[in-house]
Symmetry: D2
Subunit: 329 residues, 4 copies
């Protein structure tokens, strides 16, 4: 079968590979749609640990075409979305229920072959059934949405609170929707006019940057969601929080890079800074929200490509009007 | 009466002042014991906002000797401890129940005359009755303990968790006791051998600094309580937290001073950093804990002085074996 | 001035009374709109403790016309809504921040003269300023909304959860709106076709009763909000909760009346039952939600009457198409 | 090998059975100590669903003697304690992280062969490694302790709170220890003088029943832990809670049996009633608490028997001085 594989740092190609076979407890899935994520680009550049050669793609949906030994939870033809993060169940973190912090975490599409291929095999319990009415296309957004849902849980937004989202990529625009859904009055700071329009269609106010956000909400936001992963937004996030407010960081900054923050300011205004990593126990809820229409994937999918276009798209910097690109079978 | 007053930045003296009279809703208290706090030294140096001339002293206990108009909650002779923080009740923060963030907060002993005098008048509802069996001397520790209790609430320690306390002053040693009481396995990092001994008597393990703490607990602490208020411990606090752990800052660093932190490290280990400011709704609980003996004030009171010694003591740097100094009537 | 006063149990009349004068710390308010609440009927029948003679009315808005001594937070002409519950600030509950459980709670319109009169005096900090753009009429709904907001805080609804509201009175219809705002998928059970229509306009699905709710959601609701205050809905509430779900009771059943519940069922499904009483620290948020339009008072106000009609309206049973009746100046 | 097996409702015998072999992903454990639990007696009487024939015993420790295919987390000779509850990982509850509510939960010693035999095979990730210094004997108490820890998490005890435990069996005496560890002031109500003594040695006050508890604490307990599983204690639990307090039910009452409670009383005092079922994500913490000595198993093990004595012991009613009986290899 054809698969888009990372061969070594800097080398990504679509080539023929043997078809995977499901191990005991696994399902074999024919991939329908697979999203390209910033992490894929980080993997290509070697900025994120992984052991090539490996088929990338960790945000995908598809149909079950074969069952490994002992799988009774699924049937051929089932429509599923992959939750790529496989926790071991037995390490200290897993035993505490902190599965996203599993010491032996393996991610489909990072630590083992993923969804940028025609077929992908992975544990049945990570193949979540699509709720009735959810398209395979929208289901490809479930993984990033689940990460945002985890952040929203940590943010603990109360109806009526002011929520400021920094960064208008997929993560930012999903957070905009979730914060609205949680009853927040939402503002997005993004440099891209195109993304501003999408956010406004989704019910948010928009500003160009932190300075404009400060002008619009001089008392700050009850909750700031950092979704850009750059030093500037990270530094601003707690400063833009209101007295008693909180900032949640989702954006991934480079390892080792530091940010200067002022503890006095945080203490006297009793601001907290939290972080949200991956999608523990949120993937099923993400699928339900996409199925009900409470969160909309449609406006975020700005382009669909074939597998053969993937190497070129992965190597280029996404344009300012690009949000989520799907590889469609 | 005699009172220790801040006359202007840098000038503190004990002198004769008119006796205060209780306004409607206030009680007049004959001060028994009043603790000296780092904040008093900050006020003296002008590092903390206040409007001199004013009688300092915000940690004190005493006996009610007169009642303002309309006070029915207290009687002459009642033994009370002062909760110095008077929230307005009507600002945005107060309306949300975040009284420690009150926009019009006035503190007895900072914004109005406090407990370094023979008598002090303040609102009756801030004069908390001493539980049976609690000495006026121990009750003078209720205010700092209440601040620590607020931090422990925010820390949300579960029985069996590892708790690392940075800084062995009064705040650190009270946090040691509270973290033990909450079921934590507690380690204190302090440079002072004298303070190590106190902490060990209180049931904690001790180390000299962050490096030793890291060696002792290589996986980090579930909760780190920063109680020193210096850049080094602030920087270390989240780094010393275990995967999924949290750091709580109580220490007050100078306004404007920054600390360099690494967001990547926080995100991938899902560490959060919280702050705890003042004593909202915790002063009554603090008194109860002192009364039951669950928290011990005794080992922390290293010296008692008369009012006349106060100017000298305030102006000197406390020695390494000093913890809490009380001004005793 | 004219005022609607409870003279003794069973006797309510509109008559001339002396104009109140604001005590120190109080404001005098010219009442604009005052809502009639089920509690007013309970007071009339003697089913709820109160010390007549007293002017009833605890849900009201108006304009400040005079200031008591020492009031600097308000000015003549300010538009305000009354938070009727005055906590003492000094009892054990108040010291813990549980102000709704204050041991000396006094409610305007219950324990002291309220808003069914031309003028009403009460503490300035209980006179909340109306946000810009909020009408005095809508502001009269702030008190019941604040009670519902407290319940929603306790319910801790996550986006996407199923929420079932039992009872379609004012409380039920406000809870419908708040649960929707919190991201819930909401169903209201009400016997009244008129109330069903209002709820549907507000975005909820509707059913006639618990049996229909069970048929519609066989796995139950993540959260059930009991807003009727009768034994049948109380009994059903935890049974209608899904595995791991929770029921929150707002409805006030008669003192002494019991309900039979099955602990085994709760335990094996890990269902909890919580209660929500009054409006601690939520009145300001309620006003903000009304002002932003996030919660709509309009569809719930089914009738406006003059003060003189009040005795008749209070003594009759409200019809099935009645939701909130306002007394308008 | 010899094993104590439930053959059908009412029939339990120790007999020879084939030695189990570990499936892929499983470990084979030589059982060292296995606790007898009230549930075992319920299973014998048919009061709890299970499919005989099956080897009972769900609270046990032992040594790994063989590894199924693909097990790399364990080695021969490892000392482990079994967490008997195997969640499927893929059902709606598991996907939400509510593993104790798994729709396909299978318990070792209930739904499949357990620890009342010489050997037992079960999934490696349910074989938790014993921390250094923990004896196999004490480790046999980890499962009930983990259930209590879950309840204590739900109870959310703050240092200094009053905690009342109803019922002095193993669950009650473990809750006593955990509530003390969480900083609570603890009282146990038990009819047995023998159990009173144990509780007093563990640092609790004791009373004979609810009436005495009410007399001792007229304002009630901040938290009541119901650990008896009978109607009387269930009915009393929320009544014995203080204003704003909470009751947590751990005791298992018979299915279908109801209790009469008064909603008005709960609402006006804002009392909540929660339930705690099984041991989700708490077994590892339970082992750590036993290892550190923070919780003591010793005083609770009142008798050790051989496998051959098991049928007789299981069929008799435990005496008033019996707490936990272990079957020791
Ligand atoms: N925590 C988690 O579990 C998790 C999961 C998935 C992704 N992530 C991280 O979340 C972040 C966002 O992901 P994404 O997929 O949305 O990425 P994306 O589509 O590349 O969006 C990133 C956004 O960051 C903003 N940005 C980039 N550089 C900036 C700069 N110098 N100044 C200001 N803003 C800048 C841009 O916003 P504007 O163009 O709108 O200004 C851009 O749209 C990434 O760091 C990603 O690694 C985290
Ligand atoms: N958040 C609140 O509500 C609240 C309330 C009260 C006080 N505070 C703050 O909490 C902090 C502690 O108060 P305190 O009364 O305990 O003060 P303290 O008695 O002066 O103790 C401060 C401790 O910080 C440590 N420390 C000081 N300089 C250090 C350095 N350069 N490196 C490492 N450690 C250093 C010292 O610990 P060792 O000698 O043990 O090494 C010292 O004992 C202060 O910043 C105070 O302003 C906050
Ligand atoms: N917890 C608090 O802080 C708080 C605050 C305010 C009010 N309350 C209480 O909340 C409850 C609702 O208040 P409200 O102002 O909305 O009262 P309401 O307008 O009288 O509405 C009560 C609703 O309960 C339902 N109901 C009454 N009898 C019923 C029966 N036998 N079977 C089924 N449903 C029945 C009716 O719903 P349908 O006609 O739609 O079927 C009715 O609309 C009252 O008990 C009130 O005292 C509590
Ligand atoms: N929720 C969970 O996850 C979980 C886990 C394990 C067990 N459980 C349940 O927890 C309960 C306690 O378990 P256990 O192992 O401790 O049982 P146990 O050793 O049999 O103790 C039960 C205690 O309940 C008290 N009791 C029994 N009948 C009573 C009555 N009529 N009136 C007053 N008290 C009575 C007795 O206390 P005194 O003799 O001291 O008065 C007895 O010691 C059981 O229902 C069990 O099924 C629940
Ligand atoms: Zn793991
Ligand atoms: Zn205020
Ligand atoms: Zn009070
Ligand atoms: Zn499951």
């Amino acid at each position: 079968m054809r698969a888009g594989r990372l061969l070594s740092v800097g080398r990504f190609a679509v080539l023929d590979t043997p078809e995977p076979e499901p191990e005991p407890g696994e399902v074999l899935v024919r991939v329908a749609h697979a999203g390209i994520c910033g992490t894929d680009r980080h993997l290509l550049k070697g900025e994120f640990p992984c052991r090539p050669p490996v088929t990338l793609g960790h945000e995908f949906s598809g149909e079950v075409v074969a069952l490994g030994e002992g799988v009774s939870s699924h049937a051929i033809g089932d429509r599923v979305a992959c939750d790529p993060n496989i926790a071991c169940g037995g390490c200290a973190a897993c035993l505490m229920g902190r599965v996203n912090l599993c010491e032996r975490l393996v991610a489909v599409g990072v630590g083992r072959d993923g969804g940028f291929g025609e077929l992908c095999a992975f544990p049945a319990h990570r193949a979540l059934h699509l709720p009735a009415g959810l398209s395979l296309r929208d289901a490809a957004l479930a993984e990033p949405l689940a990460c945002c849902l985890h952040a929203i849980d940590i943010a603990a937004i109360q109806p009526g609170e002011r929520v400021l989202v920094l960064g208008g990529g997929v993560i930012g625009l999903l957070c905009v929707q979730l914060a609205r859904l949680a009853g927040g009055e939402v503002m997005l700071a993004t440099r891209s006019p195109h993304r501003r329009r999408i956010a406004e269609d989704l019910g948010a106010e928009t500003v160009a940057d932190a300075a404009e956000a400060r002008a619009a909400w001089p008392k700050g936001a009850d909750c700031v969601l950092e979704c850009a992963g750059v030093a500037e937004t990270a530094r601003e996030a707690p400063r833009l929080a209101a007295r008693g407010g909180r900032a949640v960081i989702l954006g991934v900054m480079p390892a080792g890079e530091t940010v200067s923050w002022e503890p006095f300011d945080w203490l006297f205004r009793e601001v907290s800074l939290r972080t949200a990593f991956l999608n523990p126990f949120t993937q099923g809820r993400a699928l339900a929200l996409l199925a009900s229409g409470a969160v909309r994937a449609g406006p975020l999918v700005t382009r669909e490509i074939g597998l053969d276009e993937l190497p070129a798209v992965l190597s280029e910097v996404p344009g300012p009007s690009e949000v989520k690109v799907l590889v469609t079978a």
